[in-house]
């Protein structure tokens, strides 16, 4: 097989294996969700075309290793008949990861799998200058490690203080993990330095009187994170996004920015370090303003 053919196969999620003439076949998984029907089909496929094993990847993906070259076409056909997509590799938008979100997890602020589905539908496998990963955490607990992704999303529950009913008990100040709440009975006020707020909602949940109220619910967005050889964490950009549609519009604008400014084989974070994060924020604000 020619090198060019291997490249072509790799783009379609068939990765050359160390053992000559064999491939590890990447499957299309969205937000870590699979139906039992899909799992049964994957099991059968791994038995029939591979060596009866499946590999779980670090980003909620699945691969069937040890598939001989001559079986690739029939494996692909079998999978597609069973409703299982084949994955992607190369300079494309990759697997969208997500936690279980607010439909399952009591801490969840947003429906992470639903947002993952929407992101996947619009961007999965689409070309970009370099691989591009999106990860979605349903709340500030951040189980999906938003900052490790080119674009990370994290649920947000933000507070507002109401003088009515406040007894200046000090609970909100005590529970705030970033120590930005200050209760001052003498001044008759509780101040929240929102610039340092991580949107965990703890002060709201713990306030015994309801004086600390939920003001914003939605998500926050992080750009330019990655792992690999030289890891770097994504930076928070923009304010709180109030809906799934707003989050999608933000991702659309970010992908667009990457296509305009990214060099081939340059990760998004490196592009941003070149252009400055403000350039991205300006672009996004402009695009999102137009689309709204």
């Amino acid at each position: 097989m020619k090198e060019a053919d291997y490249k072509e196969l790799k783009k379609g999620g068939m990765m050359r294996q160390r053992e000559a003439g064999h491939f590890s076949v990447r499957l299309h998984v969205v937000g870590g969700q699979m139906t039992t029907g899909q799992l049964c089909a994957i099991r059968e496929a791994a038995d029939r075309f591979g060596k009866g094993t499946v590999h779980l990847t670090t980003r909620q993906g699945m691969e069937i290793p040890s598939v001989p070259t001559e079986s690739l076409a029939s494996l692909k056909e079998f999978l597609s008949d069973s409703g299982v997509g084949v994955g992607v590799c190369g300079p494309t938008v990759r697997t969208v990861t997500a936690c279980q979100g607010c439909r399952i997890c009591p801490s969840g602020a947003i429906d992470s799998p639903a947002l993952a589905d929407a992101v996947d539908r619009e961007f999965y496998g689409k070309p970009v200058p370099h691989k591009f990963k999106v990860g979605i955490s349903g709340c500030a607990n951040n189980c999906m490690k938003a900052e490790e992704n080119d674009i990370g999303i994290k649920g947000w529950i933000g507070p507002a203080w109401n003088k009515e009913g406040c007894t200046f008990c000090g609970v909100c100040e005590a529970v705030c993990p970033t120590k930005i709440v200050k209760v001052s009975e003498d001044d008759g006020r509780v101040s929240v330095d929102l610039a340092g707020c991580i949107g965990c909602g703890d002060c709201i949940e713990a306030c015994p009187t309801g004086a600390m109220e939920e003001e914003t619910r939605g998500c926050q967005i992080f750009a330019g994170g990655k792992f690999g050889r030289v890891p770097s964490l994504g930076k928070r950009i923009l304010g709180v996004l109030r809906s799934g549609e707003e989050a999608i519009a933000a991702i659309r604008a970010a992908v667009d920015f990457f296509r305009i400014h990214g060099k081939p084989r340059e990760r998004f974070g490196d592009t941003l370090r070149r252009t400055g994060f403000e350039a991205l924020e300006n672009h996004m604000t402009e695009r999102m303003g137009k689309s709204a």
Partner: protein, 79 residues
């Protein structure tokens, strides 16, 4: 006199388990005073709220919080 429960030496989830046991021995609208540390505040208060009990008062004294709880009609069993 209001019964007093000290959970300053306990950690989650024993903190709330003890509060729940304390409340289970009382009748509706009786008060229970609990002494607890900062670490236990969020879980104990959010659990009390979700079970429908009323937090009458919270005061901070040095490192320790004093909380007075009014038992409500229990929504969930004490089992």
């Amino acid at each position: 006199m209001t019964p007093m429960l000290d959970i300053t030496r306990d950690v989650c989830p024993m903190t709330f388990v003890k509060v729940k046991m304390g409340l289970s021995k009382m009748t509706t609208s009786e008060h229970l005073e609990v002494r607890l540390k900062e670490e236990a505040l969020k879980n104990v208060i959010s659990s009390l709220k979700s079970e429908g009990h009323k937090i009458v008062r919270v005061e901070k004294q040095g490192e320790i919080f004093h909380m007075v709880i009014e038992k409500s009609e229990t929504r969930s069993s004490t089992a």
